[in-house]
């Protein structure tokens, strides 16, 4: 029997959620739930393209820096008196260009994505600092801020607009990954890139597209982040790339590529979000929270391998005793 790690994470998520309902005052309140999910909105958004990338055996470490660049641009253009309707497409375009640079370096120059995006992680964050410096731009009006803040929810629910956007995009990503030819080609590329190439898949084009989508969504996450906190800064979202990758791996997507589900990745993001909220509500120290997340991550990478090893050993023993 094979353990499905993504199912296990889903069950764990439900268990943590129910524990929260049963044990912690204030957890079940509409405000808290709206907050808990909105709090990880940007990480969740960026985790979607990241899932597709990791399935295809790639990684994009520059996502959080692109978020910072998006935030810095949003602030600077807003401060210069541009209309928000113009700013958003510009920021998205910059995200596309950033993604193209990543994708181009990976597919045309042939560098590994880890090396490329470590470089652009520094580059995009540096550009963000050039755009905005060390200051902050803050006077975003209610008209725009209300779309991202924790207090504006879709009427009758505890879902905020960034979360709704995430649900829609997650549904699209799930269909793409699990029900289309493109999705199948991602698994093929992740499992055996050369084989995929010789089977006639347009490997480079697919990879380029993934990096572009990743850049686009990260830049947009920068807009969401800026409005949600009402503070555009070049250092916004610093370190988020680790959180994004950790969520995806926690959800059982194999870092070696070729294996994983979108359901698992989503469950991974939500688990990290709900757990953080629950631990904070119970005054668990930040250091302990980091350790808990770390342990979960190690477990998520280790458990499936452990199960395989144990079952292989059992199999061998069974074979030995019958012979």
């Amino acid at each position: 029997m094979k353990l499905r790690w993504d199912t296990a994470v889903g069950v764990l998520l439900v268990a943590v959620f129910l524990t929260g309902l049963g044990t912690t005052d204030g957890f079940a309140s509409r405000d808290n739930l709206a907050f808990a999910f909105n709090d990880i909105a940007e990480v969740a958004l960026m985790a979607l393209p990241m899932t597709l990338l990791v399935v295809a055996g790639q990684v994009d470490l520059s996502v959080a820096s692109m978020l910072g660049l998006g935030s810095a641009l949003t602030g600077q253009l807003w401060d210069a008196g541009w209309a928000f309707e113009t700013i958003v497409p510009i920021v998205l375009l910059v995200g596309v260009v950033g993604g193209l640079i990543n994708g181009w370096l990976v597919t045309r120059v042939g560098l590994p994505s880890l090396a490329v995006t470590i470089g652009t992680l520094a580059l995009y964050r540096g550009l963000a600092s050039v755009v905005l410096g060390t200051g902050a731009i803050t006077d975003f009006p209610e008209t725009y801020a209300k779309w991202a803040v924790d207090t504006t929810t879709v009427p009758g629910t505890f879902l905020t607009y960034p979360v709704v956007l995430f649900i829609v995009l997650a549904a699209i990503a799930a269909v793409v990954l699990h029900a289309t030819g493109l999705g199948r080609s991602l698994f093929a590329i992740g499992a055996q890139e050369d084989a995929a190439y010789f089977a006639g898949l347009r490997v480079k084009r697919v990879k380029l597209l993934l990096f572009v989508v990743s850049g686009l969504i990260s830049a947009f996450a920068g807009v969401v982040f800026t409005l949600r906190y009402g503070s555009a800064r070049a250092d916004n979202g610093q370190g988020f790339e680790m959180l994004v990758i950790a969520s995806v791996l926690l959800g059982g997507v194999d870092f070696d590529g070729g294996k994983g589900t979108l359901f698992g990745a989503v469950a991974g993001v939500l688990l990290i979000g709900v757990l953080k909220n629950l631990l904070t509500l119970n005054d668990v120290a930040n250091e302990v929270q980091v350790i808990v997340t770390g342990l979960l991550l190690v477990a998520s990478v280790l458990t499936p391998r452990l199960i395989t090893t144990v079952s292989a050993w059992r199999h061998r023993r069974a074979a030995a005793s019958t012979s």
Binding site: W82, D139, T151
Partner: protein, 359 residues
């Protein structure tokens, strides 16, 4: 061959992402306009100066970063003070000092129904939304050490007024020098707002007749860098052989200057005063290089913050200018302009009291 339909689908996906993104942001249609974050938070409540401090108040301290030793001192003192009036204090916070990291803590403190949140803000605006939410739910908000935008808190506990710091530096040095001789200032960076404000008040104080025999010969900048401050001190003493005193209103500067003087022929001939921390300066006070220096006492800051939050939560004050309350053993305080409460004159540290402080 699957790539062609796959590509078309992928393009559709990307287009959908774009459209959604634009749709989400593209509502309304204005550009930058002013937002009112300037005035302090207003309340409709009336202050009742005679109200007793409520029992069992829950106060939460939210420092910039949980491992910031300076703020830990403040928070611990505040928690102890809460015990004095029958309340309960606690310290929670993020392990990094980024702009947004305090926000999730504010939300959870609201859910936990704390009576007051005391915050040293990492970013004056990023914490604003949730703090306003907290105040809407009748949770009192007090900023300390590092202020938020005034609209997002009811009170700001300021360690010391700029004028008081500037003038007292000159007064202390003048007493040590018997009001005569050449003096110099060793500052941090040339454009540090707080330093320049202090220096302006120092110059103004020096223009009074009492100081007619004292002369400020030069202001040098050590850039809050130990080496540079050390060299600037060296240069200063070389260039002005008649120099009698140095004011270093920077913790980095005063320690570097003390280090230079203690090993040079100027020891005992030049008086050094300024702002420093006891742990940095202990050695130089004990070996006689420095007679005294000053800084605010972080423990008093936390103590005052705790009582101010309790006074707010008990309805004694609302945060309006002119309201008065009693802060335990520190005595009576008055709320100033923009909800600001000033702790008081800086504490002077010398041989007699320095061992009582550890920060």
């Amino acid at each position: 061959m699957k790539s062609s339909p796959a590509r078309r689908r992928a393009a559709t996906t990307a287009a959908a992402v774009c459209a959604l993104a634009v749709a989400l942001a593209g509502c309304g249609g204005t550009t930058k306009k002013d937002n009112d974050n300037s005035g302090p938070a207003k309340t409709d409540a009336k202050a009742d100066p005679g109200a007793p401090l409520k029992k069992g108040l829950k106060l939460a301290f939210l420092p910039k970063q949980i491992n910031n030793p300076y703020e830990k001192l403040i928070d611990q003192a505040g928690i102890t003070a809460a015990g004095e009036f029958g309340g309960k204090g606690k310290e929670v916070g993020p392990s990094d000092a980024s702009a947004s990291s305090q926000v999730s803590y504010i939300n959870t403190l609201v859910q936990q129904r704390q009576d007051a949140i005391l915050i040293a803000a990492n970013d004056p605006n990023a914490v604003c939304g949730p703090l306003k939410q907290a105040m809407k739910k009748d949770i009192k908000v007090v900023a300390y050490d590092s202020d938020t935008a005034p609209a997002c808190r009811q009170l700001f506990i300021n360690q010391a007024g700029s004028e008081e710091i500037g003038r007292s530096q000159v007064q202390h040095l003048a007493e040590q020098l018997d009001y005569k001789g050449e003096i110099a200032i060793l500052s941090a960076t040339q454009n540090a707002t707080n330093q320049n404000t202090w220096i302006r008040f120092m110059k103004d104080e020096l223009s009074k007749p009492a100081y007619k025999n004292m002369k400020l010969v030069k202001t040098v900048y050590g850039d809050d860098d130990d080496q540079k401050s050390f060299q600037e001190t060296q240069g200063l003493l070389k260039a002005y052989p008649k120099l009698k005193g140095i004011i270093a209103p920077t913790t980095v500067g005063i320690a570097a200057a003390a280090r230079y003087i203690s090993g040079s022929s100027y020891e005992g001939k030049v008086v050094l005063n300024g702002l420093g921390t006891p742990n940095q300066m202990r050695k130089y006070v004990k070996d006689g290089t420095v007679e005294q220096f000053s800084l605010w006492d972080p423990k008093k800051l936390g103590y005052l913050g705790s009582y101010a939050a309790a006074a707010l939560a008990s309805g004694q004050i609302t945060g309006a200018e002119g309201e008065k309350f009693k802060a335990g053993k520190l005595g009576e305080y008055t709320v100033g302009k923009n909800g600001e409460i000033i702790l008081g004159p800086p504490t002077v540290f010398d041989k007699a009291n320095i061992d009582k402080f550890d920060f």
